[in-house]
């Protein structure tokens, strides 16, 4: 594929997007395996145990989303700064460094899997902490790549022009890299371990990632709907104030049961109740914007995925989050399939959707076209069906897991008191098992949707040129 007509940042973006999609495929494959192991417990037992498949499932997700974010930022970098990217070569080195590191980590997870209880294991095989299982050498590599990325963004804006959006973006990248370091140390104390571990997980996912997405949304709205820059920037600031205002101390809802003092129950409860406020702001503002200007998009798939993002974020983060966030009920739902249900919808709704939208914004330019018209020769069935199947699949899995989690909070947590017996009594209950069966079915629907999505990304707009 010839990319000479793209600017330097965009050429980098295409690379990041490509790896993002490959890792998305890995996420789904290993997700299907993990889901299947619930139904057929001896599947790959001793070969690829659940802890291996599940680790790759969640790590592939985190990393493909990071690739998607980095690609999106590189895509808009030169346009936003009105100058050429400062370190194109460095950006390329960073890309290959990160991709090599990710490949080695995945191979080690697959082939070596675990090690003895010493420092070598943590440095070179597996750190064994959910989401940040990557061994320490890879952590350092990730931070170096994030710094290269940060330098490229900051220096390019410095050379060109700054804007409100780029200011928020660069500060957010500092926080993103800085917070990751909070997870890079060893302590025998599990309470202190998990205290800092949540800084990485929560402050990434519920604070800095959200703001990063806010920046992408702001830029996307200017691009697709020609919204005035000053308005978009003001609203980005409003969203930052609301998100960080509620999200930073919202961290408290992870400090209910890990040994931390009782006042976290109150802080976590109150700030969790505030977390839906940015979502309410988005609803009101979206209606205002829809009325105040004509919706004239030249990229229907991107627009559709942006709408999916709005709904997914609202239901996944808002509704599914608030249902079990108060400590009075979280006592029973913490660490059950409730978390899995919430996680599936929230990660997909808040992040996967917007990255797919950003990729669709890029696709026509990669082919040297202006946009994606509504008069596609095949009627655009591929993007419509992939949109439908991916959303149906994830929503289906979410509801299936919700039913399993609901049963689990009853039988295991409330009645069984979380003993091993209580745990397994819940796992063999028909509600639970059927929930897992339906999750598997909708997982396959998601996989079909992903295949269609890739087919569409590779072919959309091609027929016109022929």
């Amino acid at each position: 594929m010839k990319l000479n007509h793209l600017n330097g940042g965009q050429q980098l973006a295409v690379k990041y997007y490509t790896v993002a999609i490959i890792l998305f495929v890995a996420q789904i494959i290993f997700g299907l395996l993990s889901g299947m192991q619930y139904l057929v417990p001896d599947l790959l037992l001793g070969v690829l145990d659940f802890n291996v498949t599940r680790t790759i499932h969640i790590n592939a997700m985190i990393v493909w989303m990071l690739y998607g974010f980095m690609g999106s930022v590189y895509w808009l970098l030169e346009e936003e700064s009105k100058t050429e990217i400062v370190g194109l070569k460095l950006g390329n080195i960073g890309f290959w460094l990160l991709t090599t590191a990710v490949t080695i980590v995945v191979l080690v997870f697959l082939l070596i899997q675990s090690g003895p209880g010493d420092d070598f294991t943590r440095w070179f095989i597996n750190e064994g902490r959910e989401y940040i299982e990557a061994p320490r050498w890879a952590d350092i590599g990730i931070v170096i790549c994030m710094l290269i990325f940060f330098y490229n963004a900051a220096a390019t804006f410095m050379k060109g022009t700054w804007s409100g959006i780029s200011g928020v973006l660069v500060l957010d990248l500092v926080a993103l890299a800085g917070i990751y370091i909070a997870g890079m140390f060893y302590t025998p104390n599990i309470s202190i371990d998990q205290y800092w571990w949540w800084w990485v997980i929560h402050l990434w996912v519920e604070a800095t990632w959200e703001v990063l997405v806010g920046c992408l949304m702001a830029w996307g709205l200017m691009k697709t709907l020609k919204v005035d820059r000053k308005i978009v920037t003001t609203w980005l600031y409003i969203e930052v104030a609301l998100m960080f205002g509620s999200g930073i101390l919202g961290l408290g809802h992870h400090y209910f049961w890990i040994g931390t003092p009782e006042y976290w129950l109150t802080i976590g409860g109150f700030f969790s109740a505030l977390e839906p406020i940015p979502l309410v702001a988005m609803v009101v503002h979206a209606v205002y914007d829809a009325g105040a200007r004509q919706m004239k998009g030249n990229n229907n798939p991107a627009l559709a995925w942006l709408i999916a993002h709005a709904f997914g974020n609202f239901f996944g983060a808002g509704v599914w989050g608030f249902m079990h966030t108060l400590p009075q009920i979280n006592l029973y739902t913490h660490g059950t399939q409730w978390s899995a249900s919430h996680g599936h919808l929230a990660f997909f709704g808040a992040y996967a959707t917007i990255i797919i939208a950003m990729i669709y914004i890029a696709v026509p330019y990669i082919r040297g076209q202006e946009g994606i018209g509504s008069n596609l020769p095949d009627g655009g069935w591929k993007w419509k069906w992939s949109l439908g199947l991916l959303n149906l699949g994830v929503v289906g899995m979410t509801i299936a897991l919700l039913i399993s989690g609901y049963e689990q909070s009853f039988i295991e947590r409330a009645v069984g008191g979380s003993t091993w017996y209580g745990y397994f009594a819940a796992q063999i209950h028909p509600w639970f098992v059927q929930g897992m069966e339906w999750r598997m079915i909708f997982g396959l629907v998601t996989a079909v949707g992903l295949v269609l999505l890739i087919w569409d990304l590779l072919t959309i707009g091609k027929q016109k040129q022929a």
Partner: protein
Amino acid sequence: MLEPVELKDFFIVFFSGAMVIMAGALYSLLFAWSKLQSKPWLMVLAYLAYGILFIAVLTLGSAAHLHGYWWWLVIAMLVGYLLAPHGIWKLCVATHLIQKPTQTDDLPHSKKLQSKL
């Protein structure tokens, strides 16, 4: 002090928790829509949605034992959800004022909106 939810109230807590957010969104949606289209009857529906929210919050409050200082959470939700759409709407109108007069001609609602501030 924490008083955990009783087993029989699980469903009530999950359902009313979901309804708080859903009704909150419906209220803000109808509120904004009514303002935008200048349709007062939609505002009636908006406050009906808020009524559902009100009931949902109180139900959640009693099922999740939000007594003592937790009662402030109930008050905060009731007042916060009531006022948030008002405030955000005012912000929407005010932030869009910067558009140049030439631009407002092709934006059907902005004149109406400006006159309403």
